[in-house]
Structures are given as structure tokens and as C-alpha cells.
């Protein structure tokens, strides 16, 4: 029997979203097929990987990943430049962790200063993230958005509790916006609708369906992403057509597998390799399920993920 490849083609297409400016600008999305299915349609963009940088030293990161940045993490500008110049980052994700009321309660003004300095120092696109404190984020991200006006940076995350203020700030300052909901395709759709009803352009959104770590709910994120992607493509559901983000690092580097010493759990093997693998496997799985933008921490995990991405355009046999 001759073999005719059973190809799928879709009426829908993921929006192409450009972030940053100048030579180092990055475009994600644009595909009209499931992830890496360029063999049956068009998948022009490559997923991008942003390195996570914080406004305060990463005291709560485990040693495996804290050590790598120990000479630069005292200052966000040095840290970001290092990721750009020495690690070849596609983008920088600046998390304003120190603005959280429990972690220093840094003021919105001061946070905006940091954003400005980092923007002046790096050429790659910037993703500006709050501390995930819904209330404080409204104040912080409004000021941060003003500081980033006209840079085509990404800002987030807008959630059900605070989307109005944050989306308005992103709109006023010409920024792309991350909309995060909690692991449910309908909630995700709902939030995107609410944001676009404010007049925000849906082609400037990035969906964060909520990330999780390998063995700690990965299957939920994985399947929600696959379902969103299918609805976007097969049902041509425009509200679900923004590209997706997986904020991998912060979920991975808090689970036990990235922290427990080999001496305590010999059957788990060597700690550093385990932590790096945890981040890389989590990240690559979400690429397969539909993420176009990743936020990661460990350079070794990022470089493995990059090699993995490169293999999709490789013929070896």
C-alpha cells in the first residue's frame, strides 16, 4: 500500500508578535500548525528563550542556579548584561521580585528606575514582570510601563484581579501584555476577552495559561496548552491565537528535585545535573505543547533547550 502522509491543515493561525526593537528584536508565533509541525504548514518563528533576572539578589534560588550568577546577581544591570553578552540571551525577563510586600516592598518609583537602567543597558527585548502580588503589581507595573514607553517591551502579568490597570498601562505605553489565568482554557479565553474589550489589541497579547514543573502539575499545563493551540488553529478562535508563555524557572527551582542533596536521596542521583534536567525537560515539554516564549534560569538548561529547538530544522538521516 503506498503511503500518503495524513497531513492536517488549519484555518487558524497564531498571531505573529514582535517584541523589542532594532536589530535584536524578536518575533514569536506566526505558525498555522501545531508546534514544530512545519512539515505540514508554515512555522516561520522560532521559540525564544528569555533569561530571568531579578531586581534583588536571588536568595531564594537553590545553589545550583544561584552560584552561576554569583558575580553578577548583586545588580540587575550587570546581571542582565551578562545574560545578553556572555550567555547569548534572546531576551531578558526582569522580575521585580523585591517589590513584593514580603520581600522588601521596594517602591514602584524605585522599580521603575531599575527598569530604565536595564533598558538602557541591554539591546535584547525586555520582559518586565511584577512580583505576582496582584495589588502591589498594579502600582509597580504602571510605573514600570511608563519607564518602558515606546520600547516595545513586554509587561505582565495581568490577571483577573488586576488586568484593567495593567492592560491600560501597557496600552498607553505601547507595550505587549502577558495575560495569566489559572490552568483552564475557559478562564484563559475569558481573560483575553475582557482585556480586548477594553480596546487592547489582541495581536499584542501573550497568553500565560499558568506554568508548572515536571512532576508538579506539568500535565495540566501541557494539556491546557495543547487545547488552546488546537482551538486557536482548528476552530480559528481568534481570542486564543496569541502566542503562549511558559514561565518555567520560577516553578522548577522551588521543587524538591532541584534542591534535595544526593546524600539524602542517593537514588535521585547527582543534584546539579538533576536540577538542570528538571528545568530543561519542563521547558522542552512546554515547547512541544505550544509555548513560543520561555523564561528560564540555568544557562546549561537554556543551551540544551536551544539545541533541542535547532534539531527541529535538522535532517540527519
Amino acid at each position: 500500500m503506498p503511503f500518503t502522509p495524513p497531513k492536517d491543515s488549519f484555518s487558524g493561525k497564531i498571531f505573529e508578535v514582535g517584541i523589542g526593537r532594532g536589530e535584536k528584536a524578536v518575533t514569536i508565533g506566526g505558525e498555522n500548525v501545531m508546534p514544530f509541525h512545519g512539515f505540514e504548514g508554515s512555522a516561520p518563528g522560532k521559540p525564544a528563550v528569555a533569561f530571568e533576572v531579578q531586581d534583588i539578589p536571588p536568595d531564594d534560588w537553590p545553589d545550583t542556579v544561584k552560584e552561576v550568577f554569583k558575580d553578577v546577581s548583586g545588580d540587575p544591570v550587570t546581571w542582565a548584561s551578562y545574560c545578553q553578552d556572555s550567555l547569548g540571551a534572546d531576551a531578558i525577563a526582569l522580575r521585580l521580585a523585591g517589590t513584593h510586600p514580603d520581600r522588601g516592598d521596594i517602591s514602584a518609583e524605585q522599580a521603575a528606575e531599575t527598569v530604565k537602567k536595564v533598558l538602557d543597558a541591554v539591546k535584547v527585548p525586555l520582559i518586565i514582570l511584577g512580583s505576582n502580588h496582584a495589588e502591589k503589581d498594579t502600582a509597580v507595573l504602571v510605573r514600570a510601563a511608563e519607564a518602558a514607553k515606546g520600547t516595545n517591551s513586554v509587561i505582565g502579568k495581568a490577571q483577573e484581579a488586576n488586568y484593567k490597570t495593567i492592560a491600560a498601562a501597557a496600552m498607553a505605553n505601547g507595550l505587549k501584555l502577558i495575560a495569566m489565568s489559572e490552568l483552564d482554557i475557559n478562564l484563559s479565553k475569558q481573560l483575553n476577552i475582557l482585556i480586548t474589550q477594553m480596546g487592547f489589541d489582541k495581536e499584542k497579547l501573550i497568553t500565560d495559561p499558568m506554568c508548572s514543573a515536571l512532576s508538579y502539575g506539568l500535565e495540566y499545563t501541557y494539556s491546557v496548552m495543547e487545547r488552546i493551540k488546537q482551538a486557536a488553529l482548528a476552530q480559528n478562535d481568534a481570542v486564543l491565537q496569541p502566542p503562549m508563555l511558559a514561565d518555567v524557572g520560577m516553578y522548577v527551582w522551588k521543587v524538591k528535585e532541584t534542591q534535595a542533596a544526593e546524600a539524602d536521596l542517593p537514588e535521585w542521583g547527582e543534584l546539579a545535573g538533576r536540577g538542570i534536567a528538571w528545568e530543561a525537560v519542563t521547558a522542552s515539554s512546554f515547547l512541544i505543547s505550544g509555548a513560543e516564549l520561555l523564561i528560564m534560569r540555568h544557562p546549561a538548561a537554556v543551551s540544551a533547550v536551544k539545541k533541542f529547538i535547532a534539531e527541529f530544522s535538522m535532517e540527519v538521516r
Binding site: E267, V281, I288, F308, E311
Partner: protein, 448 residues
Amino acid sequence: MALTGVEIFKLLPKTNCKKCGQPTCLAFAMKLAQRQVSLDQCPDVSEEAKQKLGEASAPPIRPVSLGAGAKAVKMGEEMVLFRHEKKFVNPCAFAVEIKDTLSAADAARKIEEAAASEIDRVGQKLRVDALFLSNDSGDAAKFLELAKLAAARAPEMPVIVSTTSPDAAEASLGQFAGKKAVLYGANAGNLQAMAEKAKAAKATLGIAAKDIDELCELTEKAKALGIEDMVLDSGARSAGEILRDNTYIRRAALKKNFKPLGYPVITFANRPGDTLLEALVAGLAVEKYASIVVLGTAEKWKNLALFSLRQNIYTDPQVPMQVQQKIYKIGEPGPKAPFMITTNFSLTYFIVSGEVENSKVPCRLAVMDSEGLSVLTAWAAGKFTASKIAQFITESGVEGELEQKELIIPGYVAILSGAIEDKLAGWKITVGPREANGIPAFLKARAV
């Protein structure tokens, strides 16, 4: 295409004799179409119908066993392309490659490493499932040595014998009689001879094609030679090729009921010198339709990541992974040790018990059956309520073990504390932290 109930009905005896246990032939036909009964339950079906129906009622991806006995792995029988549609059925097997060019000592070490890889995770025993013995040397004698070594050191482990030489195949397969090994390496040049060796040894035939077209040709030829059990290699090696070919193969089998590709797939993830990249490619194979994933190495940390991923991908999307309802002891809790409660969602249990372990404070942890839902989800769904908690605690009889009747509840359900106190006479309810990572500090503060 699969036949409909009515089409099947036309081929049945239509006597409504009920010997199949169904009230009518039509009822039987309907059940058959949904694969709820098997054709041999009707004793009177004609040979002609058997042939037509056998083909049509066979699962689109043939079930094939890898190995025999306690450590055998079931492969095939998958019904969907995406895990949210329906549970992926048979978790893929991990096989570690052992080359016959290794020294006997190195080979033995690798075999033992694989054989000793078993770990317990969320209540399941997980391990490297099989050995992939490869005849890299091209020397039949060396290959036989390796086969003997594997048979002696890991007698229960399923084996894939990889060679393109029918003679080397025969000798090595001799070491695995009755073990349902796979003979991998049948190609356009050696198909007939390899098929004979596989048949004689009752082994599964692994087809090594250079692309999907050739794969279809070879499986049809093998089938004509009387081979029923096969595993498929389309020659895909890069991540892009693996995704494309495995997707085409799964789609062809499921959507087109295309028989030449209706077999389990073997995917090669080996990346010599780059074990981390190998883990990512293996992850792709887990997610995208491999039944056997061949690895070059089996470091413990890599195993842990891959076992966990396989477990995640193969859980039932409708039925979350659960742990058994009971009162778990962490450390060696005395009568004064803290007593806490949570739900039986395995994720919740593992996070909470992990943090309690971190605290080094011995505890009792009551895990209540909430149908595998997380604390907040269970609460919202009415499965983690004051009366259910009270009933569980009372029936558990834990009271007798405790010096003071105090129960610590998750911070997210602080709202329940009053209601539980009302229903559990004489108990004090304490609200713990919301996030599990607050548990160590919370417990340590109590201990002083």
C-alpha cells in the same frame, strides 16, 4: 476504517441465540463496534465473517508485549493523539543501549545500572524497562557474549537484540527463549532471513527502515511472511524527524486505520556525549508516540526526570493520580507529634509530605480521600468539608495515639476550622500556613 455496528451485524448469524451473553446479535454487534466484547464470544460466527471482522475489530495499533513475566511491558493499543482526549494507554518503555564493543566489565556495569534503576514514585515502581543490545562490532561471537552476560546479570529484564546479521540474531536470541525479545534490524536487504529467525524464536520483529515509505513496504512483506508482532523504526533521528514520522504513523494508524503502520514505534534518542540533550529528545519521544525509547545512558538524575515525565504524560486526564487514604507517619512521631490533614491528590500529598520531611519534625499526616483533588479544588467541589473531615478523623481511631487532640488544617481552608471544631468534640483545630513551603518554619516554631 473500523466497521459500524450495523455493518458488523450483517456478518453475524442473526439467530439471536444469546450464547454470546447478549440479548440479540444486534446488541452484540453494537458492543463489538465499541470494542467492549470480543468476536470469539460468538461461537457460531462464520470463517468468512471472522476474517473480515478480525481485521476490522483489531485495535488500530496492535498490542505487543516487550518481554515476558513480571517485568514485561505492554505496548501499542493507543487510541488518541492528544492526552486530553483520553488517557494514553501503555506507558512507553525505556531501553538503555549496551554495545558489544564495550569491555565485559563495562557492559556488566551498565547492565547492572539499568537493572538496579527501580525507584518508587507517587506509589508507582518505575525503572529502565529493557536492555537494547547492539551488535556494533559486527562480530557474532562478541554479540553472543553480550547476550549471555545480559541473560545472566538481568534475567528478568526484557531485551531488544539489535543486529543486521541473521546468524548473530539467531545465536543471541537463543539466550532469551520464551522471553518475548525484540529482534531489531530487519531491513530491505535481510527481511526474509530475519523474519525466519524472529519466528523461530517467537520474537517480535523490529523493522529498521530508511523512511516511512520503505517502512510500509517492509511491514507488509513481513506480514506476508507470517510475522504478526512488529515494532517500527522509520529511520527518524533528529527531533524534527521524530516528531514528523511518529505523528504520521500514529495518525495513519488511528485516523485511517492504515494497517501497515498499526504497530508500536521504537524511537532512538541516543546523543553520545550529550546526555542532557538526549533527555530532551527522549522527552519528545515520551510525549509523541514512542512505545520504546532507546537511550545511550541511564544516569539516576536523568532517569528520575524521564520517569516523572512519563508518569505525567500517561496519567488519566479525568482521574488525577491519587494516594491511598490513611494516616501516614513521617519520621517516628510520638504521642506529642503534630497531626495534620490534607487531601489525597498525589501532587498535594508529595509536596506536603516533602515539606514535612524537610522540617525534620516527626508528624502524622492524615490523607483524606477527596477523589484526587487538590485542597482548594476538593473544598470547592464539596469533597473536603468539615463533616467529611470529622468523620474520617473519628473513624481512623487516631485519637488513641495522641496525647492532645489537635488537628492542623491547610491555611487555604482556614474557613473550615470552626465547623470542624463543632463536629469533632474535644478537638482543637489549628490553621497551618497556606503554602506548603511555610510548613518547616511553622513546625519548627511549634517545636520550641
